[in-house]
Amino acid sequence: MFESLSDRLDAAMHKIKGYGIITEDNISEVLRDVRLALLEADVNYQVVKEFTASVKEKALGEEVRKSLKPSEMFLKILKDELLNLLGTDKVKIETNKKPTILMLVGLQGSGKTTTIGKLGNLLRKKYNKKPLFVACDIYRPAAIDQLKTIGKSLNIPVFEEGKRNPNEIVRDALEYASSNSLDYILIDTAGRLHIDDNLMDELVNLNNEFKPDEILLVLDSMIGQDAINVINGFNNKLPLTGTILTKMDGDTKGGVALTARHLTNVPIKFIGTSEKLDGLEEFDPGRMVSRILGMGDMMGLIEKAESIMNEEEAEATYKKMKKGNFDLEDFLNQFKQIKKLGSIEGLLKMIPGAKKMGLNNINIDPKDMARVEAIILSMTKEERKNPGIIKASRKERIAKGSGRTVTDVNRLLKQFEESKKMMKMFSNGNLNLPF
């Protein structure tokens, strides 16, 4: 998501590397690059100005002057200042009250309804809560249908009363929730402009009567310089407790993340990272800074893996790897688990140093993965356990069965042998990883 921002910052950093000492002269060009990088990322102009001024002041300070590696010091300053902008702490969502009322608000098309689905899914999975979706978008055609479809696919109840007054709907929903002992009320509201007084009053009425524990502003991460007006517009009328940035899986540079916290003090609580209903992550400023600076996000990767992988299975696979009798059956299982983790591109980008290894620009067609799967699935159990027996005629049969060519089958078998060798070296501790 932040690739191009980190690319530009990287280029700026590169210039500094050559200098033995940082001076006002040689730093001005770099600061200009930093400034442009941030502006192109839609960071608010005011924030950019303050940011570059404070980076400059610190970079010219005594500490940097004395340090042996000015470029490293400069990177540290950038990192610290970015962290300052994003806020240093993770702000968690309210989870202790029963029932907890959450209301999602925002402009049209920011992704409220999808986010409600993701949030319900996350609350149930991570916090073991029983959520209820309440359909209060009484304007957009089929908005209620959309929420109902999402609720059905997640098996989370949806409360709706058609196009009634939202206050009445929520009143009834609360009753329904208490009689069914549900502990989270997630209110989906209609998209509206922050300058539309009538529609804003509707939200104010909901807030006055129900005092939601969380009012979350859903923001499209592609939003431009108007972001600040939107956040202030909603925050002035409602006590926002946080924001959720959506569509972060696009190629947006997401400058709004830097704008939001700094100018309004409303913390970012979640980010949306895929179109699927498990694509919502709790926001972590430190990890975000690492991503912006192209330092990878190993924590995110581990967390993601942990949520998917089955521990016992992983243990068994590890043992097999160590012994070197890892077969194509295991390979297939691994493959399926990796697929559950989401896009490979996304995973690669989270690896620290991915950019230096050239892994950040790899595009993997999901179809390629499907092809590998098809080839393995066209083998018999025996063949998967003991790939050595796959000779010419078997290869031909497998190729036909999977709609690929014998060359494809050969390539896969070769790759498998290679990775088996790698695993053996890896588990013996003989492999020097490139990072």
Binding site: L107, G109, G111, D145, Q146, I150, D220, G224, D226, G250
Partner: protein, 329 residues
């Protein structure tokens, strides 16, 4: 005559650009926020400085970037402006104002005035394909354009090609019902190409005039979704000669610099013939029109100035610049 003088004439009612008062009101109101943002700030700037100097230019640059005009576009613009001011020896901010409006206009009409009209197919149905990222307002835009076409007496068909998003098919169906036009749908999760195939066969056989096709929102960096768009194009082109006759990229005006990337990436995959800029009434910005023109050279064909059925307007650069700057005079 420079554009600034033209603008004066429009304001003084010496020249007609608006068809009627209703249309002018719509622009006045729809651009209220944008105009207040830009014109007010420019006026304040001019009050603050009695002479044009380096600080003046820096503040001007800030003001334009805040209008989402785009970093590159603004930088180029500033270079030209500074050079021209020097050459023409302009030092009063009031005089420079004319140059600013002129130069902004030039960005848009640079080289050629792009065709902002919809191309109709004379031999059979005209097929309009709507694409864009998620949440920009594709479905609503289709409904609004469908109504315009229907009001012109055309036989209109909607095609629910967004088989991915929950509720998308229902949303378009409700609109079709409201406007009173036909719609072809399939089930959620179906291959979008298949519903388009069915729809276009029907459009040919039953002699529809205009076919508007909805597609699922897709982020431009998703390779497989973009490839799907390619397939859709091929299917459409096979069934009706020259179709799609227009591929319109819908962009949310609240979008910042990513709008430029969207335009570039979609243009690479498919032949985007025009842009629909939605939600302009909600933003104090809307400068993205100029940035897209300069960096991608695609004309804006429609702009959304409000939520009402008739608030989607054909784009007209003179009206747009008027909307932005009428208070400067």
């Amino acid at each position: 005559m420079g554009f600034f003088d033209k603008l004066k004439n429009i304001v003084n009612k010496d020249k007609q650009v608006f068809n009627d008062d209703k249309e002018k009101k719509l622009y006045d109101k729809g651009f209220e926020k944008t105009r207040r943002g830009l014109s007010d700030k420019l006026n304040n700037l001019n009050k603050k400085y009695s002479k044009v100097n380096a600080e003046y230019f820096e503040e001007l640059e800030e003001l334009l970037i805040m209008a989402d005009i785009g970093v590159n576009t603004v930088m180029n613009f500033m270079d030209r402006l500074v050079t021209r001011a020097k050459k023409e020896k302009i030092s009063e901010p009031e005089k420079l104002k004319e140059l600013i409006v002129d130069e902004l206009f030039i960005i848009y009409v640079n080289d050629d005035l792009l065709d902002d009209k919809i191309k109709y197919n004379d031999n059979g149905p005209t097929v309009l394909l709507f694409v864009g990222v998620n949440g920009v307002g594709k479905t609503t835009t289709i409904a609004k354009i469908a109504k315009k076409e229907k009001d012109k007496g055309k036989k209109v068909m909607l095609v629910a090609g967004d088989t991915f998003r929950a509720g998308a098919i229902e949303q378009l169906s409700i609109w079709a019902d409201k406007i009173g036009v036909d719609i072809v749908t399939s089930n959620e999760g179906a291959d979008p190409s298949s519903v388009m195939y069915t729809a276009l066969e029907k459009a040919k056989n039953e002699k529809y005039d205009v076919v508007l096709i909805d597609t699922a929102g897709r982020l431009q960096n998703k390779v497989n979704l973009m490839n799907e768009l390619n397939k859709v194009n091929r299917v459409i082109g096979k069934l009706i000669d020259g179709a799609p006759h227009e591929t319109l990229l819908v962009i949310d005006a609240t979008t910042g610099q990513n709008g430029i990337i969207q335009a570039k990436q979609f243009k690479e995959i498919t032949n985007i013939t025009g842009i629909v800029l939605t939600k302009l009434d909600g933003t104090a910005k809307g400068g993205i029109v100029l940035a897209i023109k300069e960096e991608v050279n695609i004309p804006v064909k429609y702009i959304g100035l409000g939520e009402g059925m008739d608030d989607l307007q054909s784009f007209d650069i003179e009206k747009y610049i008027y909307g932005l700057f009428s208070e400067l005079l």
